[in-house]
Structures are given as C-alpha cells and as structure tokens.
Assembly symmetry: C2
C-alpha cells in the first residue's frame, strides 16, 4: 500500500493550491468558515460482522456524518481531511474501497479530499474526518440558540429508520422486505441534508441542527439553555415506511437519523416548507416550543415525558 495520495484530489488553480506530497493542504479560503470533525470506531459505531457490511459504504458514512454537521449549520461543503487508523492485517482492496467511498461521497457534495493521514493500529479501526465548509454570512446560519415560545418545531425526511436498521443489523438478520432494506440503508448509508440546510437558511430559518443524537435530545438542546420546553405530537412524527405508530420511540431516542430539525414562527415555517418542497425534501411540523420546561410527547390523550436518551459518550 504505497500511500493515500492517489485518493487525494489533485491541486488545481481554482480550489486547491498544494497537496498531495506536501506536509499540509493549501486552499483558497472563504470569508466565513464552518468546520467539524467526527470519528467512527469499530465495535462502537459499526461492525465488520454486520450482514452485508462493505467498506465503500463505510467510507460514505464517515463523510455523511460529518457532512450532516455542515448541513445542520446551513453550510456548503468545501474540503475534507481524513485520518484513518487501520490494522496492518486489513486487505489492501478493502482500504481501497474505504477510500473510494470517502471520495465518491465527497464529490457528490462538491467537496475535495484535500489531505489525510494513515496510521497503523493494533485495535479497532478508527476513522476520523474533518469537514470544512463555507457560509455566505456570519449571521445567515442555523444555530441551537434563539428559539422562542410559540415557534413551530419541524423535521426533514422520515424518522426511526436508522434505529430500526441498527436493530436489524445487530440481530444478525438480513433485511428481507423493501422497508427493511430502506431502514438498513438509513443506518449504513445516510444522506446528508446539505441542500435542505441551505434552503432552510435561505428561507430565513435561523434555529436548527441535526438530530443524529436523537430528536428528543436535540429538542432539549434547543430549549434547555433558556429554560423553555416543548411539546411534540406523536401522531405527527413522520415515521419511516413500515414502522408502526407504537414504535415511535425509535424516532425520538438514539435515532441516528441524519435529518435536520428547525424551529421558527409558524408563517416562516410555511415559507421554509414550500422551499424544501421544491427540492423534494419533506419538512414536517411535529410540535411547538412552549414556556413549560421539559419535553412532552403527546399521543392522543396521553402525555409522556421522555428521559433524555440521546447517545452521549461518557455522559
């Protein structure tokens, strides 16, 4: 295995100035920069033993989870740096598939793979990507702060599929039905909501994030710092196809759905819904910010206050 440089994008006058072969990547900058880093660890975030596991999809997922953080800010991806710690026993062709997945996901979102690091490990595969993106303005972005009582809470796409897919993978069963395949795909090969994030910002939405730690945890982050609360209508949760209403907890805890959440006054939210409709992304109002602290899930006459169960390491 010679080096990773053949997987790196070649310098071009327009975007990349230097790399590969130099100590660092060089690119022409943007006025407002958004950056994030996220790691996947074998046996924690994925298992080679999962039915149908493949390295190319793993590479795509590494990029997707980081791209989703940019989407959550309403940013446009620009450059990626990738650092992989791999066992020496790994087959070269699997390493190639991993990089191919990384590169294809990057290019799908007009992002260069500008640099990286490859190191050996005696333990689990550990994959880190850092994504650098741009914003047009330091004010036009999605942030967690700023939600007000009376604002509508809405989410993109469908919920619960990734969690259902994870259960299926962990049970060792191969997905049978079309719905099951879609759940597994939501888990293994999530689609970052870059276009939706940009459209939300362009519609004037300023409060939002992604819900990869779970809808419940994410709503908490929007309201807790200002001691507000929220009520979510269980009947309105856009569950993934094939999930039954009574499985709604899959959609709000530990979801790993890489969808976006946002909050805005009702009229603003209707503008955003129309904007997302134009790019074929559903934006579904699921609840409302209110003054009573805590998160309530209302299911007909019953109201449940869920314990936060979003996945937070070392919490």
């Amino acid at each position: 295995l010679r080096s990773i440089s053949r997987y790196l994008d070649v310098p071009s006058a327009g975007l990349l100035v230097a790399a590969p072969g130099d100590d660092a990547a060089v690119w022409r900058g943007d006025p407002i920069v958004v950056a994030t880093t996220d790691t996947m660890v074998e046996e924690i975030d994925f298992r080679l033993q999962w039915p149908g596991f493949d390295f190319r999809t793993l590479g795509r997922r590494l990029m997707a989870i980081n791209l989703s953080d940019l989407a959550a800010m309403g940013a446009e991806p620009r450059h990626a740096l990738v650092s992989l710690s791999l066992r020496g026993t790994l087959h070269v062709s699997d390493v190639g598939r991993l990089y191919r997945g990384i590169a294809e996901q990057a290019h799908r979102f007009h992002c260069t793979v500008a640099g990286g690091d490859l190191s050996g490990t005696l333990g689990p595969l550990t994959l880190t990507a850092t994504l650098v993106g741009r914003l047009d303005s330091a004010r036009a972005l999605l942030r967690r702060s700023g939600a007000r009582p009376g604002w509508v809470i809405a989410v993109t796409g469908q919920l619960g599929g990734a969690a259902a897919g994870l259960r299926l993978l962990e049970s060792g069963g191969k997905p049978g039905s079309r719905d099951e395949r879609a759940w597994v795909s939501a888990q293994l090969d999530p689609k970052p909501r870059i276009a939706a994030g940009r459209a939300l910002v362009e519609s004037g939405i300023r409060v939002g994030g992604d819900i990869s730690d779970g809808l419940s945890r994410e709503v908490e982050r929007l309201v807790e710092p200002t001691r507000l609360g929220a009520t979510i209508e269980v009947a309105r949760l856009p569950l993934a196809r094939g999930l039954r209403r009574k499985q709604w907890a899959l959609a709000v805890t530990d979801s790993e759905d890489f969808e976006l959440i946002c909050a805005a006054p009702p009229a603003r939210m209707r503008i955003a819904q129309r904007a997302l409709q134009r790019i074929n992304v559903p934006l579904t109002p699921v609840g409302e910010i209110d003054r009573q602290p805590g998160i309530r899930f209302r299911d007909g006459a019953r109201t449940e206050s869920l314990q936060t169960a979003g996945y937070e390491h070392f919490r």
Copy 2:
C-alpha cells in the same frame, strides 16, 4: 464527564463566531488556508507504561505534531479541531490533563481549539487533531518541489534527540543525565518550529518541509520526483547534545525530530541563517543537492548510501 465544551474556546466577535454547543465551529476565514491532520495511536505512537508518561504532555504532543506540519509550510496556526477516542475506563482527571495539554499548546501558538469530538473505544486510545492555519500568499510558502542542483540543504535545531529518547523510553529506563532528559523531552514534548517556518518563508526560502519521518526520507522527497540526488556531510549534522558522532544514523532515520529542512541557493541560505539567528534557532547547512540520483552520506573518506528508513505506515 459532561462534555468537551468547557475545553473549547468561547466564541468571540473577532475570531470564532459559533461553537461550542452548535454542530460545527464557525470562524472568519483567511484568503489562503493551510490544513493538516495527524493521529496518534496508543501502543504505536506512545505507551502509557513509559517511565514518567503523563497525559498533559501527550496532549501537547498531539498538537505539536500537527503544528509542525503547518510550520513545514511556513504557515501561521489559527484553529484546531480535536477528535479523541478514549476507553470508558480512563480516569476523568487524565482526560482533563489531556485536554489541558492540548489547550495550552494551542494557546502558546495563538491557535483556538474551535471544536472536537469525543467517542468511546474498546481499544487503544486514538487521538486526532486537525489544524487550520493561514498564509499571506499562495506563492510564499514552503513546498517539497523546486529544489535545484547546487542548492544547499539545511536543518533547524538539533537532530537525533527524539530517536535517542524513544530508545530510552522503550528500554524502560528512567532518564538519568541532563542530556538523557533532553532526549526524552525531544520525543515526548517536541517544540513545533512555527516561528522558524515563517522566518524561512520571509527570507525567500520556498523549498522545505519537516523531518519528522527522518532526514533521509525527507531529502529523498525533495529530490526524487525530479531525479536529482543529494550528498549529506555527516560531520556537519547538528547532533543533539550527548550523542556521539558514530550514532549519526539516529539523526537521519526514524528521527521523529520535529525540525525543519530547507533547500536554497547558498546566498539565499545565508540570509535565512541570519533571520533564524535573530529568533535563536540554529539553521545548519548539512549538504547539497546534486545531479546524481540517490542520497549519499559522506563521513570523511567513506560514503554510505542509506536505504530509506523513514517511518511510513503500510509501506
């Protein structure tokens, strides 16, 4: 362990716009950006069992190896993102020391810790940092390409100390003499040559890099693509205090010395030497680029052609 956010720099109007608490960091950008990522893996790059091991120094080293890549381009550090995969059994106070070392090294070089990720692992500690820096111009930087026959090759600082320190640590012995302590410190707590890298570029030097993979390997990178060669004078190698002349191989293979190398016409190199003298960094000419392919080490009447032994994973 609540979260890493208390170790992140707070947003300020001047530099950081958003983070912590948001999905990604936001900062005001620079026209020319330099970025690098580097990982350290337990049992490969460090061992908790080393005599005198401490987490704060480990944190400083994580930053130093990445800062050195920026130094190698002549760039000025701006922001860091840090992704740590830690075992759940690690003591909270050790995690705190690790972050303190990261933060203090960042601040020493006027760099914000803008974001990060903390994940669990069942295996070796795996620490990744991504450093983003700036350059004044896309032309005024150090690159590996462009060296010409007749140019002088020079290195900053002293060589061989880190390799000698590593041997000492691996033998399990505690450093006794002042020289031995200095070798161990060169291994565990290297000082990135940021100021020297900037001074080289300001002196008009355009060809260079760091020698953390070994002087020999690095010279090879400067000459191989253009089928040139180089001759290094062993007597001129600035060995770390306490190393004997016959130990010179420590200085050229596997060195892990985070020093800089550069190449330039003799007159230009003298200008650079004076500039580095002003910031108390020795810049020592050690050899010359020539037309005969290969790297020769001349020691009096003997000439050795060393096999490349710089550390490259999976090579």
